[in-house]
Amino acid sequence: MTPGMTDFDLRRVDENIYEIPQDGEMNAPARVYASEDLLDEIRQDKTLEQVRNVATMPGIVNHSIVLPDGHQGYGFPIGGVAAFDAEDGIISPGGIGYDINCGVRLLQTSLDYDDIRGKEETLVNALYGAVPCGLGKGGYLEIDKDDLRGILEGGIEWMVENGHARDEDLRRCEENGRLPGDPSKVPSEALDRGVNQVGSLGSGNHFLEVQRVADVFDKDASEAYGLHENGVVVMIHSGSRGLGHQTCTEYLRRFEKTYPDRTDELVDRELVHAPIADEIAQDYRDAMYASANFAWANRQAMTQAVRHTLDRVFGGVETSLVYDVCHNIAKKETHTVDGEERELLVHRKGATRAFPAGRDEVPDVYANIGQPVLIPGSMGAGSYVLKGGERSLERSFGSTAHGAGRLMSRTQAKQDFWGGDVQDELRDEDVYVKAESGATIAEEAPGVYKDIDEVIRVSDELGIGEKVARTRPIANIKG
């Protein structure tokens, strides 16, 4: 076996469904949703060990899950889902991640691809100038700490009230862009980090990308989502920035100090957790929800930057929100377990909610279709729009994948790829990429990601997230 590779006796349950049977310290089986090809890649790192570790957590309902884009994370695998009773269960900061409400939003514009051909370079430079990227570049929106508390309390509602969002933006966000957070539970050092970051992209795999709709697979759903072939859309992938990171960091440490014996017994320290009935757990939940509100406001502020930039470059452009999804979050949701409805706290870490038609949480405009599910791919392969799958509720607590999933470390990527070459090769395919550092481009080269087509095929076949449309990149900015 290669270093880091894990070998488990996986039982095949059905096509694209495998299971690590409950054994030893496990409180439930661990379920893997993957094809044989994806499973071969998943076996190359510690993903299976991590999804098994999650199954050792107390009170886990049904099974620990890893989705088709799963790869090694810390504590939970990326692409991990786990549910616990909302009253008697636990909450785990490591099951949500440091980037609370990291997520994706998609904007549709009144532009067609032909409208922007020949102006891509101007466009990518204008967007790069408008949206702060990387370390220490500030935010698009200048606010003070009173405003920040308003954002933590109100999320997109605050943005609407203060002229930074439209009513329809609010209705097209998961949870309407607001969870019941409590700003007073957010650590003061998190406020310090967040106050100048509203409307900033960050680094790593975060990006802002102008795309064109290349393929439509489901005409009715595409029409409902406002997507048509060669229509220009904009995808934004970012999260709660330093505010969310600091909130997770501090509560993880508070959990450790509050429950030292529980921490000592953990198979992985990042799986630290607390009973949701305990005061510290509720404080964390309320701070996490407030951080989620900050993330929505952050993506909304960048939306305003995009609106102004498109208008400045092309004039008279109408830009509206298709949808905004979280993929690092824990939320209270109702699910059917063993034939009974239960209130569960569903943890999704690198996993997207994918509710089908019929769920109250789906916005009215998409009520007959199901919620849009936004899955970004690499700069070369393009991205997908899915709709919540009919079988997602029974199979994955209403969840599907969140991306292509990395294959290669950033260190290896920088050895295998040269940023300038990647940029030139993408340019030959009419994709314009802008980042300050060549290393950033090399680290996110198309070759470091899994085959997103296979991830989507498996999601679609499983019926957890069904194909609607595929987009191709035109211009991409990275931090």
């Binding site: 994370g73 990326i78 370390l135 220490g136 990042e270 260190t411 290896q412 931090g479």
Partner: protein
């Protein structure tokens, strides 16, 4: 003694060694700077930080020290380039003078430290620290 940046599927992993815990943390700081892209920048200022984790282990100290570097970068608007460190494992304590440079374009914004694959160990007169940073 030295540091290296190791492969990790999604994030960045550091390994640093030193004759003392303090020296290992100094090398870890240089590794941190390399991940950020700040290695080679000319320091123009210093920031003093103190971290202690009474009653806890040395891993908690390393976690909190790395978290402090990230906090300083975000709030002070600087990039950490190097450090002079004084440290004890018992009680777990770090006092460090960070050499910092003004932020320029193209630097990586690290999200957080993690406990994933974290190692702090001493053997035969040397210290080794390993940590994965969430990026």
């Amino acid at each position: 003694m030295s540091y290296e940046v190791l492969g990790h599927t999604a994030d960045a992993k550091l390994r640093a060694t030193g004759a003392t815990l303090a020296e290992a943390l100094e090398y870890a700081t240089r590794g941190f700077a390399e991940v950020v892209g700040a290695d080679g920048l000319e320091p123009t200022d210093e920031v003093r930080v103190e971290v202690e984790t009474p009653g806890e282990d040395v891993e908690a100290l390393l976690f909190d020290y790395l978290a402090r570097l990230i906090y300083v970068q975000d709030v002070e608007g600087v990039a950490v380039v190097d450090a002079e460190v004084e440290s004890t494992a018992e009680p777990p304590r770090v006092e460090a003078t960070l050499s910092v440079a003004p932020v320029r374009g193209g630097l990586l914004d690290i999200k957080a430290p993690t406990y994933n694959e974290m190692v702090v160990e001493t053997d035969d007169g040397s210290w080794t620290v390993e940590a994965v940073l969430d990026i």
